[in-house]
Symmetry: C2
Subunit: 390 residues, 2 copies
Amino acid sequence: MIRATTAALAAALLAVPALAYEPLVEKQVFEAESFTTQGGSEIAGLRLGWEAYGTLNEARDNVILITHYFSGNSHAAGRYTEDGARGYWDSIIGSGKPIDTDRFYVVSMDTPVNLGAHLPDVTTTGPATTNPATGEPWGMDFPILTIRDFVETQRMLLDSLGVEKLHAVMGASMGALQAYEWGAAYPGRVGRVIPVIGSGWADGDLIAWLNIWGAPIRLDPNWNGGDYYGGEPPLAGLAEALKIVTLHAQSAEWSNGVFGRAWADDGADPAASFDNLYRIEAVLDGAGMGRAKTSDANHFLYLAKANQLFYAGHGDSLYAGLLAIDAPVLVIHTDEDLVFPGNAVRETASIIRSDGTPVTVVELEGTRGHLDGVLGIAQAGAAIRAFLEN
Amino acid sequence: MIRATTAALAAALLAVPALAYEPLVEKQVFEAESFTTQGGSEIAGLRLGWEAYGTLNEARDNVILITHYFSGNSHAAGRYTEDGARGYWDSIIGSGKPIDTDRFYVVSMDTPVNLGAHLPDVTTTGPATTNPATGEPWGMDFPILTIRDFVETQRMLLDSLGVEKLHAVMGASMGALQAYEWGAAYPGRVGRVIPVIGSGWADGDLIAWLNIWGAPIRLDPNWNGGDYYGGEPPLAGLAEALKIVTLHAQSAEWSNGVFGRAWADDGADPAASFDNLYRIEAVLDGAGMGRAKTSDANHFLYLAKANQLFYAGHGDSLYAGLLAIDAPVLVIHTDEDLVFPGNAVRETASIIRSDGTPVTVVELEGTRGHLDGVLGIAQAGAAIRAFLEN
């Protein structure tokens, strides 16, 4: 007993310094006087948050760019404060981890039209921010952006850091689209591409579902055609939209395995009243409303549009951008994914591979569907580490 | 050439009488002074439409009951008028067809809270119809119904026809739930059960999606807590709800194969404006709004609730009702089904089979997902014919 206690104490003592020595992450802001979109519109006063882990080497060639998913932001790893939340891929990014910050300088940036526009740690430019020309929020007058525009904001940040070529670019879901786009748009500036749970274009099915995702926002009378700043935001519609995303990004193994037919409240039989819910309904309601408060409804619609518009390269043909990718590609996905199904991801891999580009495909196991690309990424840790070495 | 023309003419002449001799279907109305729901509420003045194909024999033992799906009604076969639309399963119901009306008397009935409450050929009782106690539409004061309540209305109709035992009961989707429920609730009154594209209970995933389906209605300010009769109905919300159902009941093979990334209007690039849609979006919008005009939003919510509440038998345990089924079961489904996935259907089949009840499973091929249970049912024609013979 004494031994066990001593061992536990020693482990605790060892653990504390390990945490204490980990440097805190500093969120920074990248500013550009002007940004011209691919569609030809100009955005004055672009401001986007970013953060980095590790140290930029003298040759500036040890950079790995992490691009974030639809509802995500730059916070991929580490913590802003001692008791703050760890970034979403903290399991693979850090000292000694597969994306080893002892070796790599890992950069991650908030996209424009970031969903979490009202989160204190997010800095973004979009409908919710002020149009310098009017002094009012842009609303739906903000230009439509594409995934390529997101890539351009990252390129500008990297240019400002003097980084010519990325060791790798990696992202999940919408982040995977940005990773493909980097490989297609800048084949000479990307050493490796790691798209996770994403395919090379938005197909008809994804376009349709993205329309469904956004519909509740447009139905909420508070949305008011996007003009709600200064009034009541369309929280109910946004919460419903986020509910759909939440369910779509999960799997039946989750909804059935964790919740099944359980009631939200014992004694409140769903058969007795429309107010009595099943637990899965209450959980989705809570998740939707919880995230709605820090999200922006117009930003949601702009992100949905950017995803619908995506095909790698945005060129003259659907496949040209994928064929333009020259860097080796490590595709990570799961067959339980409802958003980017396995066959779409495998088809993407085949097209990239068809002209001789090396492509490795790693399949994740799990019960969380699309989300396993975030929650279960550590499974691919060894493959990522090896891919980054080569 | 003359021969070919003669042959074509002969074929045309042969075709015309075949159509002309087919008896037209007469829609009838079943009325009951009172109906007590499983929840203990009383509905005065129940009125439900029904129709039949074939002739009831003297022994009254040649009856096959067809139970309809979520957005369906009693019109399973034949035509009401010479140029009217054929019923949804006309390919398998009729003279000489797998469900042979030369031999069987095929009965089909509108459910209460039928979605198509405002279709001229549908007669139903629900929130949109008048509560005799108040002289006003019931609205959300209408009692919550279950799939078992639907079965009870059918039992009352069959009782009125002097039918003691069904040769078979068959239905697709929500109709499959009714078929399971018939087998569970009245094992002595059902000779055969044919559930198509449906499983033995609503699992957590289906419960969640049914919540998502109904959300747009609740968001539409015209819904007004269900009190919209006499005012503007919540058409926009109902149309969005029907869009989700439409997409969910299809498959990616449809949305990608038929539409892909095509634009709704040539020259109206979706990248240029939020008003410019992809074709799949415009098709879903059209389908949703087209059906919304003849549907009722409250009825939609009552149907969603009935589906959420379903587990065969509605008894003390999830499996008891399925184990109560004694009649042979022919399960027809497709693995491309997003609403009732293949594993849920196969699990249902295994549970029914576990106590010795004969179960046959037939899998449909197709590119339309859940809808193949309606559109592709003819594939199972031989299996259905043989099953009905035994």
